[in-house]
Structure formats: C-alpha cells, structure tokens
C-alpha cells in the first residue's frame, strides 16, 4: 500500500527526466505528469515492479485542456491554436489496493502518444475513444479507428472545445 508521493519517488529514481512533475495542491488526487513518448515504458515498469503491481487500468480519458490562444477567424468561430491535449491514466492495483493517476500532455497540432494497449488490454477501446473524440494518435495501436462516431466522420473530433457541427453528413442534415 503506497501513497502517490512514494510512487513518484520510485518513478523519479527509475526514469529520471521523463517523469516531469507531480502536482499535489489540486484537490482530491495528486497527478504525475509523464513524457508522452515514455508512457509505455513507465506503464510496463508500474505493472512489473513487485511493490507497485498496477495490474489494472481503471480508465484512460482524453481531455482538451483548451489552454491555447483563442483566434476568432472570419465567421466568428473560435479556433484554439497551440495549447495541449492531455491523456489521464488512472491505475489501480487489485492486490496491493493502491491507486495512482498519470497525466500525459501532447501538443495540439500533432498529438502523439505511445499506446499502452500491449500492457493493459483494456486500453484498446479507451485509446480508440480518445482518438475518436480528440484526435490523439496512439503509436503502434493495433487498429486505431473511430469507435463511437461513424467510421467515415471527417468533420473533426467532436469533444474538442472548438468543434463545430458539420452542415451535412452523407447528404443528411446534421443539426436536427
């Protein structure tokens, strides 16, 4: 049973600079920020390490931080440029009964992160949903396609803050 600070120390010792920071002040749970390209190694380590043994990934959620600059282009629609799209990993150890939250921030223009599908099988659909809703591309994911939206939905990624509904989808009027 380890609390997040100890886990952060172990990770810092193991991975050094790819573990960026831990912010504890925000209420209810400390979050460890990790470099997007090392998340699968960190995940592998967290699962194998006998004191940690994070064998189940509870949830993997994409978030549009909307911290870029807001530009108003011609027909007054807001387009956010710059800023980050981040992915939160909530891990839990069934046998050692402790939890940890990892965060990965990827730049908005080409959001890329390593896929953890090989470590926790449940990440397969969660990552596909994060891709479908935010456009975050997970490298070497078995089949990264849209999961909830229609497969050929090319009007962008719905859950982004600056998403605008397309007028028509295959000839059908979208806003009812």
């Amino acid at each position: 049973m380890k609390n997040p600070e100890e886990i952060f120390e172990i990770l810092k010792k193991e991975f050094g600079e790819s573990i960026l920071a831990i912010d504890k002040d925000v209420p209810t749970e400390p979050i460890i920020a990790v470099d997007p390209m090392y998340i699968n190694k960190v995940g592998q380590f967290l699962r194998e390490h006998e004191e940690l043994k994070f064998d189940s990934l509870m949830v993997l959620s994409g978030v549009d931080d909307a911290n870029g600059t807001k530009i108003k282009d011609e027909d007054e629609t807001e387009v956010i440029s710059g800023g980050t799209l981040s992915v939160y990993y909530h891990l839990h150890s069934v046998y050692l009964k402790h939890k940890i939250t990892l965060k990965v921030s990827t730049p908005r223009d080409n959001p890329k992160a390593e896929s953890v599908e090989s470590i926790w099988k449940t990440a397969d659909w969660h990552e596909r949903e994060a891709y479908d809703m935010f456009g975050i591309i997970f490298l070497n994911h078995p089949d990264l396609r849209r999961i909830l939206m229609p497969y050929d939905w090319e009007a962008g990624y719905p859950l982004r803050k600056d998403y605008k509904n397309p007028e028509f989808y295959q000839g059908m009027k979208v806003p009812y």
Binding site: V26, P27, T28, E29, I31, D55, S56, L57, M58, V59, S61, G62, V63, D64, Y88, H90, V94, K97, T101, W120, K121, T122, D124, W125, M133, R146, I147, L148, M149, P150, P158, L159
Partner: protein, 371 residues
C-alpha cells in the same frame, strides 16, 4: 489438396433479438464455429460528455439516468458521490441510508433484467416473465417515492429530490419477504436445470488474469473467482456499516469463470442486496433530506475520479472542474463498455449459439457502452 474453405462473415446486429441493444457483432464463421468476433458499437452514441460540458452540475443528473437506463439510481449515486467529493460537503445520515437502500433495490431490479434476458437468450421464456413480475414491485416502490419508474433524477448533489413516502418502509419489508422465495423458485426452474447448465457450463471461460488485464469488473470479474467489490474495496457512502458477503464464482458445475458462474454470482448477489436492505431499512434516522443541497453548485478547480459499484461493474466518474458552474470535462468509465471488450477474447472457438449465451452472461447495456 485440402478442400479450400473460406470463412463466412455473419453480421449479428444491430437489429438482432439478443444483442441487448444496438450492437453489431461481426462474426467470422467456419461452419458454425467462430473464428473471430469484432463488436461494432456507436449506434446509440448520444454524446453524454459533450452535453455535460454545457449543463450545470444539477442539470447533468437527468443525463446520467439515461446512460445505463436499467440502473439509473446507481448512475445518479456514482455522479453525486463524485461531485460531493469535489465539493467536500458532508451529507446527512438519513440521505446516506436512503441512497444505499435505493441503490440496492436498483441492483436487484437490474440483476432481474440481466438474469431474465440471459435465460431468454438460451430459450427459457418463462423465467424472464417471472423475474419481470418481481421487478414490477421494485419499480412501483420507486414510483411511489420519486414519481418515475425508470429514469428517476432522484439523487441530487447533497441530498435527494423527494423524501421517502410514509409507507415506503412497510412496503419494502413486504417486498423483501415476498422476494426471497421467488429466488429459490428461479433456482429450481432455471439455475439448476440440466439443459441450462449444459448450455452455460464451460462456455466462455474467463481466466482471472485476463479478466484483470481487460479491466473487467463487477459480476464478470467476481465470476472468475476474485472477491473484488467496490462496496468493500473502496467503501463510499456508508457501505462499511453493513456486513454482507461477496459471492464469487466457484465452478459448481463447470470450470471457474464460465457463463454459469457469472449467472450464479448475480443470483447470490441479489440475496446479499436483500440482506443489506434489511440491515438498512430500520435504522433510517430522522432529518430533512434537502438540508445539505447547495443553492449554486460551484466546485473549486480540481479533478476527482470516484468509482461506485454499479450492478454491471465499476462505474467511474472522472470530473475536471475549472471553478465555474458547468463541469469542464466529465469522462464516464462505463462497466459495460469495458466488459464488452472481452467478447473478442471469450468467443473464439465457440458456436454461434454460445455467442448469445456469453453476451447474456456479460450483461451489457448499450446505453452505457455508447454513452
């Protein structure tokens, strides 16, 4: 020269009598044996998360009802516990007791549907109707307290929308006494029926480590033998005041973790819920259920991930709030969404008829899968 055979692709769904909603299973068949299953979801996607970003916190509650429409009370419970953790407010005991009773009644009602449809998929029509007749009693209890039968919007942030009806306690006790013998009747009729056992034992065996790796939770995980129940693991509300066992799959008729075990775990869980209701129904303290409801719910900046034991598994709400009235981002971890990934794993090598039995035993609700 071996006879060249190619696999036949059979599309089961989205309109199919036993896919528990609009789910399309793309089966690759070799004769009747399944080579590969690819579930296609998204037919019932109503963008709950996009809605949640433009609603205020109390207005999101009717939307959480509609996610897992067979267990709306538990959805409300999960969301409300998350927001209260974020706000850091303490809810009076009367509300806690009523919430636990309502959540357990909802668990029984949801299991009744799960068991009924599981039996229906395998061909047993009558138990389905007996279980729905029992479920009517629970629905009328809910209707008496909050006015609605399926989508309640009953649990509010910090309290409840209505206080319980004066003769709610008496009727719940009546229901508990009425319901126990019907469980044994169900066991006689379906659970220990040789044909039912033949159809579900040793089918869709889920070993424990794949279950954990796939993130399966709830009766699906407990069917594989691990006593992992959030009401005991990570007790929220006042579940630590009640003693109840956590039934797990013991492989009575087949190996541990097969369809029959998942089915039987739900039957035993109904009895445990009855025990909790009995322990919780008497000591309901007096008090006003709407005292702790804040006038304007404006949580501080921060994130919370709270998870509760929904009848189908671990229902998690990951809420990010940036300090103003409507939430910045709500991500819902639906248990059915995660359990459905097991289909590809469990159905290999089985027959078409088994896919239905396995899908019935995993018990998914498409509203929660597609959100």
């Amino acid at each position: 020269m071996a006879l060249k055979t190619e696999t036949m692709v059979l599309n089961m769904g989205p309109q199919h009598p036993s896919t528990h909603g609009v789910l399309r299973l793309e089966l690759e068949l070799e004769g009747e044996v399944i080579v590969n299953v690819k579930p296609h979801i998204g037919y019932l996607h109503r963008c709950f998360e996009k809605h949640a970003e433009v609603m205020t916190y109390p207005q999101v509650i009717p939307y959480t009802d509609r996610m897992d429409y067979l267990a709306s009370m538990s959805n409300n419970f999960g969301y409300v516990v998350a927001v209260e953790k974020l706000l850091g407010i303490q809810v009076p005991d009367r509300v806690q007791y009523i919430r636990v009773i309502m959540a357990e009644l909802q668990r029984i009602a949801s299991h009744l549907v799960a068991l009924g449809t599981n039996g229906l998929d395998i061909g047993a029509f009558t138990p389905f109707l007996y279980l729905f007749r029992d479920r009517e009693h629970i629905l009328s209890l809910f209707e008496m307290t909050c006015g609605a039968r399926l989508l309640y919007n009953y649990m509010w942030v910090g309290g409840l929308s209505h206080d319980i009806h004066p003769d709610f306690v008496r009727l719940t006790k009546e229901f508990v006494n009425y319901f126990r013998p019907t469980i044994t009747e169900l066991n006689n009729l379906l659970t220990f029926n040789k044909i039912f056992i033949e159809r579900t034992a040793n089918i869709g065996i889920l070993p424990l480590d794949t279950a954990i790796n796939f993130g399966a939770t709830g009766p699906v995980l407990r069917g594989s033998g691990l006593a992992f129940d959030l009401r005991r693991e990570d007790p929220y509300s006042i579940y630590d005041r009640f003693n109840f066992e956590i039934p797990t799959g013991k492989g009575l008729v087949g190996t541990i973790g097969d369809c029959w075990d998942r089915y039987y775990v739900r039957v035993l869980e109904m009895e445990q819920s009855l025990r909790i209701i009995e322990q919780a129904i008497d000591p309901i303290p007096e008090g006003d259920v709407q005292s702790a409801i804040p006038k304007r719910v404006k949580p501080p900046k921060g994130t919370v991930y709270s998870r509760t034991e929904n009848p189908r598994g671990e229902l998690g709400y990951f809420i990010i709030s940036d300090g103003n009235v409507n939430p910045f981002r709500i991500k819902v971890r639906g248990p059915s969404f995660v359990n459905l990934e097991l289909m590809g794993e469990l159905c290999k090598g089985h027959l078409v008829a088994d896919v239905i039995a396995i899908l019935g035993s995993i018990d998914i609700v498409l509203g929660e899968v597609d959100r």
